[in-house]
């Protein structure tokens, strides 16, 4: 009797490799052994500059998490990563006294975001400065983005932080941020929308940078060391690709060999 579902053996290999590597780095942390150095992400540093700019100008920091999907599918990790960066940004704003506005066109993550922002203010000992009215649902889809852009231009915005799940309409917000003279910092893990951030944002999180930034803001070595796990997996995939190229060049049917 087969134990494994046919066609999923490679998935299992990848999962075991992932678990073993993660276990190895967690063991290193436990044993106080040196951890890999992780480079800074310029867009993450720019969030700090953006908050500083907001304090100087008295204008708001506008945070937009995109469609913020939590109910399932490939967009959930992006939303979770965005929520981590939200905590970082809102906490910085609370610490420095910058006006923080959370605007969204997706309702699913709204209660979660509300909790994160409130807790950020509590963590900084500034509960009285928390403003629930600054957490705004602008309506869904395109009309919501239009309302957000109008709000940004009329209220004045020092810095726009856009991370999460985005579609074409993100250009509306990026255009509005340029019009209100704000620094635009953003990114998404959706490759199809990277062009928008590439052309219109001042600082970008390029695809997986979003997940890396999400781990970096935690400041926890256990969390940040998991980025090294990603690199190990990348090396594995790269190795597999090179082996595949060589084997195909030698006439082997590599694609069939991979169908385990």
């Amino acid at each position: 009797m087969p134990i494994l579902e046919p066609g999923r053996n490679w998935d299992l290999v990848l999962f075991i490799l992932l678990s073993v590597t993660l276990g190895y780095y967690l063991w290193r942390i436990k044993m106080n052994k040196p951890l890999p150095t992780i480079r800074r992400i310029p867009a993450l540093d720019a969030v700090e500059d953006g908050v500083g700019r907001s304090v100087e100008t008295g204008k708001m920091v506008f945070f937009e998490p995109g469609s913020a999907v939590l109910s399932g599918g490939p967009f959930v990790p992006m939303t979770l990563a965005a929520m981590n960066i939200l905590r970082y940004t809102s906490r910085l704003c609370a610490k420095r006294g910058a006006k923080f506005v959370y605007g969204t066109v997706g309702t699913e993550a709204l209660p979660l975001a509300q909790g994160i922002i409130e807790e950020s203010y509590k963590a900084e000992g500034k509960s009285e400065e928390y403003r629930p009215e600054n957490i705004i649902y602008f309506g869904s889809g395109f009309s919501g983005n239009m309302a957000e852009s109008s709000y940004m231009v009329t209220e004045g915005c020092a810095s726009l932080v856009m991370v999460g799940v985005f579609y074409t309409s993100c250009l509306v917000l990026l255009g509005a941020s340029a019009r209100s003279g704000a620094i635009a910092i953003g990114g998404t893990a959706r490759w199809i929308m990277m062009y928008a951030f590439g052309i219109a944002a001042d600082y970008i999180f390029i695809m997986e940078d979003l997940y890396a930034a999400s781990a970096l803001v935690s400041g926890d070595p256990a969390t940040t060391s998991t980025l090294a796990v990603e690199d190990v997996l990348k090396i594995f995939v790269l190795g597999l690709t090179i082996v595949g190229i060589v084997l195909v060049g030698l006439g082997f049917k590599f694609a069939d060999m991979m169908k385990l």
Binding site: G175, S218, K234
Partner: protein, 204 residues
């Protein structure tokens, strides 16, 4: 964590392990039931909020008007959906959808696309290597798509196709694999309780 482990085991387990697949199926069904209930709960909360805005809370007349319009429109649509025998596929409901909702939606979408182009036009400056590459690629590919492009510069057509099918596909695959691995690591971090970013403030 137990549930996630169960879902993981179910993913890898062969079809012969019927019990595991049945448990997963049952849990998924309950997920759907809870989601459905939450939808009804959401409708009740939303209606209550707008009712309070109209009748009880001391808010300005604009907010009362917006809430009133929402309240009446929502109940109208809901009533129409349930009252007509064919419900949402009925002629009355479809008339409202086709003649009211759709034109409004189309107008907003069209307006938004103009704003997207405007946004891109206003903000696109070559300020990094990434934006320079995007700009160059866009110019070449636009020239390839325009009828006059291949007419005046014949090599632009195969070059544009090569950019799309080779450079673009290679970059996309690399990016997609990296993003997939990132999501996988985030998932595993959550599974073992190391994804504490959102809970840090609570811990303190």
């Amino acid at each position: 964590m137990g549930l996630t482990a169960l879902f993981l085991i179910e993913y890898f387990a062969a079809a012969e392990f019927k019990a595991i697949h049945d448990v997963k199926g049952e849990l998924t069904r309950w997920g759907t039931i809870v989601s459905g209930f939450m939808l009804v709960f959401g409708v009740v909360v939303l209606l209550r909020h707008h009712f309070l805005q109209i009748a009880v809370r001391k808010v300005n007349w604009k907010d009362k008007l917006y809430s009133g319009v929402f309240f009446i429109t929502f109940l109208g649509f809901l009533g129409m959906g349930f009252a007509t025998p064919a419900r949402v596929s009925g002629a009355d409901y479809q008339w409202i959808y086709q003649n009211m909702y759709r034109p409004t939606g189309t107008a907003i979408t069209a307006l938004c696309f103009f704003w997207c182009i405007y946004g891109g036009y206003r903000t696109f400056t070559v300020r990094s290597w990434e934006s320079a590459a995007i700009g160059l690629g866009a110019v070449i590919y636009m020239l390839r798509l325009l009828p006059v492009g291949p007419y005046f510069i014949p090599p632009i057509e195969p070059f544009g196709d090569w950019l799309l099918s080779t450079i673009n596909v290679g970059g996309t695959r690399g990016g997609t694999i990296a993003v997939g691995l990132g999501a996988l690591v985030l998932g595993l971090r959550t599974l073992i309780g190391k994804e504490t970013g959102m809970l840090e403030a609570v811990k303190e």
